[in-house]
Symmetry: C2
Subunit: 745 residues, 2 copies
């Protein structure tokens, strides 16, 4: 036996002499065990013996996180586990009720920050990065320990972010879900009303102050706007995700993976059209099903296409000429290719382009365009998939265009769907980060909120609900106003996930309420009119009785209680705050409270946390707004009338034709994802409050078959932002010595 | 004092009672210390006292890897450090000669694989992924420990790859560099001759068999071709980088970061041209230098532009109208924008496109194109930068086009260079992976080998040379044949890095030699003619006496000894192998040996490893081929005559004009990066062997000012590959249950 193997016996000796010693130092022995299977087989029995030895008062393990497998952690009996030590060793995180593993962060970190830096005075770019950089995030493996993740479930990406493996869902499948809270908003001004900061403030309050396990689930921001008009997104003031620069830049590469997958489909489409245009059936067939060492074989993806064509053969030699032709020719109609390329850059010159102008492309040029990456259908799929195989199936089903004979052509027809799944295999794992106060955050997926459903991922919510346990809280956020983000959350995301929310938090600001009450126009870049700075109770009341009331009613359509969170600004007066809370409750909100998370962190959202906790005990009679089996037109009409307040809808001839086509193709039972402006409940951005008496025009109807929804276009949606004359990037810089980033937020 | 603080004193007591105890168990005390500054300040003095206490025989630390800072590790005196324990704690890796920390892997892993799977029989896609997946890579933190990296120098990206922080260079600045070996090749067939597998086989042999510290530095493969014709790249058979799927897909996101940075520049260019075309000087100035809370200020990047314009003012109000105009108008000539967009996808339809066709772009459409991402100048910069600040300066200097008055316009003029540095801040850190036998590999940068210099990064080589230590080996690889990759390695990369190679390994295959000796055409996809399967000594000899001899001579131009590595195929006969080795030595090679790494791993490259080790003792009189101060035309002529064997060069009028322009702009002293076919020493791909009597035509001359070279175009270079009728992706799939990838290699 080498010396190390003898060590545990020797350590036991130590305990005999010093029975008051609480910990048994097996340290270096276990380090060795990690790398040597022989030792591993030896130390497990040793620990089991120590468990039973009455003279041993306690055992502690010193192991690198990577070797703390559940087997190791479950080896020590709870009563032998030394308090304080096991905290650091995570020993207690995997025994018994998993949710016990969740260690809510303490409020001290942000309190210290507040002491050092004081309350955040203004709301401007500059303050955020200072607050963010002043706080050092805890190492992500420590965060993972605190929330009960096993080391083998974590894939660190640097020190402050990590992907979480989906195997965790299997391990905790018997664990009851926590409470599920949706943060939505009233119809916003163009400046945004702070749903993300409310989300972060709320989990900080629940966690550090009420000591309830909690988790925020956020969307990954697009990198394009970070360098354009908007700047970074991650909450603000003392309610942020840190480090903000990681959150706002490449993160763990999910959007890059989506870009790669999306553009591989695009390249496959154009290359295939070129090859079909320039080759005979026979030449195409010889290339698509080549003879390798004298043997011709269909690949599995080709067999799948044959099945869809109704050809039940597996021998490439046995196809009739017309079968060969059907097999080799997707026969895409160039004018009916709906698939666009994407970049994660605000590049307006790519909105409409002509491709294929080089002589090598033999005149096959056509008009197309690029969207911003987060507008890709693959992003919507990532957000809605509930497993790797579900994602793979959705990717295969994506319709990229229509053949000349009117048949939908899918990614699987192109032979590319396996490659897409490979490109997306890591993107499907949610990214773990933390708030300024150390509360865990999942950042995962960020689909557009108009042409897609605008919600973070189903998988992040599911993982978080297991991690927080029965009494914990998962707070997730829906894009835009409740008429859009929340409606889609319920009708699309909840259908896909099977999850049911307990409470809706509806975010309002005095600024937006005044706008809805008749205040002057608010626009980005322009100075705010006086009405928004001085007290004006009439405007506030007007906004509450129109837009806020309507948005509360929308949540009630789904049978879910509403807590109104008033995101307080420095200019808001107490009378204005009180008025909002009073009217909100009159309008049916379970509660309505002011929030001061921007200036005070979680402490500023304590009231909201209490109100949300309270509201979860209210009756909740969740129901969908419409049945999937009713006709597409009826589904659109239901949303228009019940949610937007329209009298009716009006379909363009194009929209009608598309609906007929989708019905005929069997897509009629998909849910609806309205592509509508977020600046009004109606389709007219300038109509504030709660407009009535309008007819909602449906200009066109499109479909994301892989993501699984039909999206009617109400007006024109830009899917590619531009850069202003002086983009944010003018102020963004990196100090090459300190590596500090400035100007990003 | 809390209990923990008392612990060290108590532990010292233990030692008094048990003087035979070799380790002092400070374990849980130091765990606590990690998180509490108070305790931290207490335990350092404790350890220092223990260092001096003659009764203490040894000290061991039990700390999670994250807290093993160099301060902690340097605290214990070497003589108090307990053997065996410190091995695991990495304590000894930072004391004395750093290279001692390097633990060469043992050969057992691949031996076991060989036993289980046997030698790789064929060279086809299918075998590689089976071999790759049969071997479990060691955890990257373990690999990092073995090679002497400190935990704080590592940023893990999942379990099997990690970025290494550049701070390591500062820590080891006093450490002598290891031996520096370049792997280059003879002029290849279109099938490639296996430089990467030779590189990997060589480090495996040096490391596991000769027990010499060694490191391979490889280029990151482009993701585009992985899904196109080529399939994945990472060596093959038993000489691979694992896991191959990580190596071939997103890796740690460097190419994605380059894509994002490159396309931000492109978006900035077009948006700026639009804004300049549609706004007055005054309006532009008001937007570029806006009044924020009544104050107008130039950003630092704007001040830099003012300086370049010769305007020494800092108050925005003090500029004369003509100064305002000069400041706000880059006045880019749309027909002289040289910056292209990029995607990491083989998308041939993007080779030539028209952008700006949407009505929002107001008719400012223009023709441009996309390159594959690795062709971006930013990739060349990443490969040549030797620090973060060097990279930032190079990014700022990039010339994106020419103004109407003929002035170069840079990324800094666009105001975007700080943002580019921010986007690239992680990409600059090399990625650590491993070979099948556990030898460390840096994967970093992969610039094109024709329009750029085709070598992996300067920084990866520098880091690796420090890590292996004085007697260790770093093997780095140059793209294409020695006439291209090696020439650029010497004249461009070595100039940038200041490093000098000890040996060149010149890779040849019997197949390529037969082609150069007069064998029939070899092309991808077509069956190999009989000459390449049957023994044919005449063809072999012809190839050796033409191309091989010439490539050896080229290396000797630089004063570096050459070892010829014959990458042996199953069809090669012993007589052919012997003939190659014999002639190679006659032609001046220090040695020439056959390699069997494909079939046998490192064991198959033992002879090569010995020959390389031997050659490092040969005299080495490194010299550059040309002096930077001679005129551009002379530099081009020198390369054409001395390296390619041309009689002379012939410049097109366009090339002449460009050279005049570059001279006038002060770019005349940059090195030359020839963009020439790799399939011949000449500009004519069909001319094999060692062509003579030709005039090299220079069609055009371009410049990568940020990367720092002038690149003359010899013929037409495609910078965007296409997809074939049946791309690789047809066979690529992901099993959603096992997560296993098939068909990638």
């Amino acid at each position: 036996f080498p010396a190390q193997v003898l060590a545990p016996k020797f350590s036991v000796c130590l305990l005999f002499f010093f029975p008051h010693v609480l910990s048994l130092c097996l340290g270096y022995h276990l380090f060795c065990a990690q790398s040597t299977p022989l030792l591993k087989s030896l130390y497990f029995p040793e620990i089991l013996k120590l468990n039973e030895d009455p003279r041993v008062h306690g055992v502690c393990l010193h192991l690198p996180p990577a070797s703390l497998t559940s087997r190791v952690l479950n080896t020590i009996k709870p009563e032998k586990d030394v308090d304080g030590i096991s905290d650091l060793n995570m020993g207690r995180l995997v025994r018994g009720d998993m949710s016990k593993g969740f260690v809510p962060p303490t409020a001290s970190a942000v309190m210290e920050l507040l002491e050092r830096h004081g309350e955040v005075q203004g709301r401007g770019g500059k303050t955020n990065d200072k607050v963010s950089q002043a706080q050092t995030p805890k190492p992500v493996d420590q965060l993972a320990e605190e929330i009960g993740l096993l080391p083998e479930e974590l894939e660190a990406y640097g020190r402050t972010k990590a992907k979480v493996r989906l195997s965790m869902l299997d391990r905790l499948h018997a664990q009851p879900d926590g409470k599920y809270v949706l943060v939505a908003g009233i119809t916003p001004t163009p400046l945004g009303e702070g749903k993300s900061t409310v989300t972060i403030g709320l989990v900080q309050a629940l966690s550090a102050h009420l000591k309830l396990n909690s988790f925020a689930c956020l969307r990954q921001p697009s990198q394009g706007p970070t360098f354009g008009v908007k700047g970074g997104a991650a909450g603000g003031g003392y309610a942020q995700v840190i480090p903000m620069e990681e959150f706002n830049l490449h993160l763990t590469g999910d959007i890059h993976a989506i870009t790669a997958a999306n553009n591989l489909v695009a390249a496959a489409i154009d290359a295939r059209m070129l090859h079909e245009a320039t080759q005979s059936d026979k030449a195409l067939y010889n290339r698509l099903v080549p003879s390798v060492n004298g043997v011709r074989r269909f690949s599995p993806i080709q067999i799948a296409r044959l099945r869809r064509l109704g050809i039940d053969k597996t021998d490439p030699g046995s196809l009739m000429p017309e079968e060969v032709s059907a097999f080799v020719r997707l026969d895409l109609d160039p004018s009916k290719v709906t698939w666009q390329r994407v970049v994660d850059t605000n590049d307006r010159f790519l909105r409409k382009i002509t491709v294929g102008q080089a002589s090598t492309e033999k005149g096959q040029m056509r008009e197309t365009g690029f969207d911003i990456a987060v507008a890709s259908e693959i992003m919507a799929i990532l957000a809605l998939a509930d497993s790797l195989s579900d994602m793979k199936n959705r990717l295969a089903r994506m319709v990229v265009g229509t053949s000349r004979s009117g048949q939908p052509v899918t990614a699987e027809d192109l032979g590319v769907s396996g490659a897409l799944a490979v490109l997306m295999k890591d993107a499907i794992k949610p990214t773990l980060m933390q708030t300024l106060e150390g509360t865990p955050v999942f950042v995962h997926a960020g689909p557009f909120a108009n042409i897609a459903h605008g919600n973070s991922s189903v998988l992040a919510d599911k993982l978080a609900l297991k991690l927080v346990g029965r009494n914990g809280f998962v707070v997730t956020e829906a894009g835009f106003g409740a008429d859009i983000g929340m409606e889609k959350f319920f009708n699309i995301k909840c259908r896909a996930s099977g999850l049911r929310p307990n409470v809706v938090v509806l975010v309002a600001t005095v600024r937006a309420l005044k706008m809805h009450g008749g205040g002057p126009n608010v626009s980005a870049g322009a100075p705010l009119p006086r009405e928004y700075i001085d007290e004006n109770l009439d405007l506030v009341a007007g906004g509450c009785r129109s837009n806020l009331r309507k948005q509360i009613q929308i949540a009630h359509l789904f049978g879910v209680p509403v807590v109104v969170a008033l995101n307080v600004f420095k200019t808001d007066t107490q009378a204005e705050i009180d008025l909002v809370c009073q009217i909100a409750k009159e309008c049916g909100a379970s509660d309505a409270v002011p929030c001061h998370h921007w200036a005070q962190g979680g402490r500023g959202s304590l009231e909201l946390a209490q109100a949300v906790n309270e509201a979860t005990s209210r009756p909740n009679n969740f129901q969908f707004l419409y049945n999937l089996e009713i006709p597409i037109v009826e589904k659109i009409r239901t949303i228009a009338q019940k949610v937007y307040g329209a009298d009716d809808i009006e379909l363009s001839p194009e929209a009608k034709a598309k609906i007929d086509y989708y019905n005929q193709q069997g897509f009629g039972t998909l849910p609806i994802c309205m592509a509508k402006t977020h600046l009004s409940l109606s389709h007219m951005p300038e109509k504030k409050g709660a407009p009535t008496g309008f007819i909602l025009p449906i200009r066109d109807v499109r479909a994301s078959i892989g993501a699984g929804f039909i999206y009617p276009l109400v007006g024109t949606m830009s899917t590619m932002p531009g850069l202003p004359t002086r983009p944010c990037f003018y102020d963004i810089d990196l100090d090459p010595v300190t590596e500090e980033i400035t100007g990003l937020f």
